[in-house]
Amino acid sequence: MPPSQDPFYAGLGQAVRIGTDLLASLIVGGGLGWVLDTYLLDSTPWGMVVGLVLGVIAGIRNAYRSAMRWPGSPPDTESKG
């Protein structure tokens, strides 16, 4: 069996992935909002607030999406659609 199809590694890989994906979207969302605030729009708290909220949404959405494509999960669910 090629190791890339080993469910242990594939599952561990997915698990390690999701945590950082959540964090990274938060960083990017907050960062973009902060840049908009300080350099472009001068609207101090609001860009970062909106950016952080969007970042959280994006992170959770990504986590949901990769959970739906979980390797080794039963193939009948949404992953086929």
């Binding site: 090629p2 590694y9 890989g13 992935r17 994906d21 969007l54 994006a58 990504n62 992953s79």
Partner: protein, 249 residues
């Protein structure tokens, strides 16, 4: 005796060099990278030169590594991803050996420097952007609009998709860097405890150090694997626009 757990990550220049104001000094990380490049090149050349039907030890190792990367590419990108095989295999082998060589006491983990991982991530993500725009032109911007989005949701979905796209290189870089750094900090702290604990109680953290070292070997492998898989996924997304569901088999 009191030493910061981050002390092993400090770099000191061995040979200060500077070309046109750019600092290209030789330090430990650079030397370790040279060692890794030489090691990987030697290993793969030696393994590839045997070409026996019944492979020897080295040839089996080489074939296993190459086959592993090939499996990842075929799983995530399909047949047309094989043209990226040299790049992806090189990345995988380099990261894997950097991670592994860092576990040798007295050595240095190059991948615990965020500069290194960020460069890898930027190369991969930049390549996927270039590929996407070359293949699809302006239509590639459609990657920001998930299929089946109703029109009134567009002002919300485009920023969200933009954020999750921009998060890709960051998560790629931060994941590798954070995992390698954290692992080595834990090893350092545990070993410090073992030394300061003395014989009476010091054996306990020392045993944990050994167990953690074993775990770190696994993590070194898994992080290289994740980096490779995500490289393939991002390049694949640039290939098959909205192909998320096509290659989920």
């Amino acid at each position: 005796m009191e030493e910061s757990p981050l002390h092993p990550f400090e770099l000191h220049n061995y040979i200060p060099l500077s070309v046109g104001g750019i600092d290209i000094s030789i330090n430990k990380a650079v030397i370790i990278m040279w060692v890794v490049v030489a090691l990987v090149a030697f290993l793969m050349l030696k393994a590839g030169s045997a070409r026996q039907l019944v492979p020897g030890k080295l040839q089996s190792l080489g074939e296993m590594l190459v086959d592993f990367v090939r499996g990842i590419i075929l799983d995530t990108m399909g047949k047309d991803g094989m043209r990226f095989f040299p790049l992806i295999a090189t990345l995988f082998l380099f990261i894997l050996f950097c991670n592994l060589i860092g576990l040798i006491p007295g050595s240095y983990t190059v991948t615990s420097q965020i500069v290194v991982t960020a460069v890898f991530a930027c190369v991969v993500y930049g390549l996927s952007l270039v590929m996407g725009f070359l293949l699809h032109g302006a239509k590639f911007l459609g990657i920001l609009v998930p299929p089946g989005t109703p029109g009134w949701l567009l002002p919300l979905m485009i920023p969200i998709e933009l954020i999750s796209q921009l998060a890709r290189p960051i998560s790629l870089a931060v994941r590798l860097f954070a995992n390698m750094t954290a692992g080595h900090v834990i090893l350092g702290v545990l070993f410090g405890l073992a030394i300061s604990g003395g014989l009476l109680i010091g054996w306990l953290p020392f045993a944990f150090t050994i167990a953690m070292n074993g775990l770190e070997v696994g993590i070194a492998f898994i992080q290289a694997y994740i980096f490779t898989v995500l490289t393939c996924v991002y390049l694949g997304d640039a290939f098959h626009l909205h192909g998320h569901d096509d290659h989920a088999h």
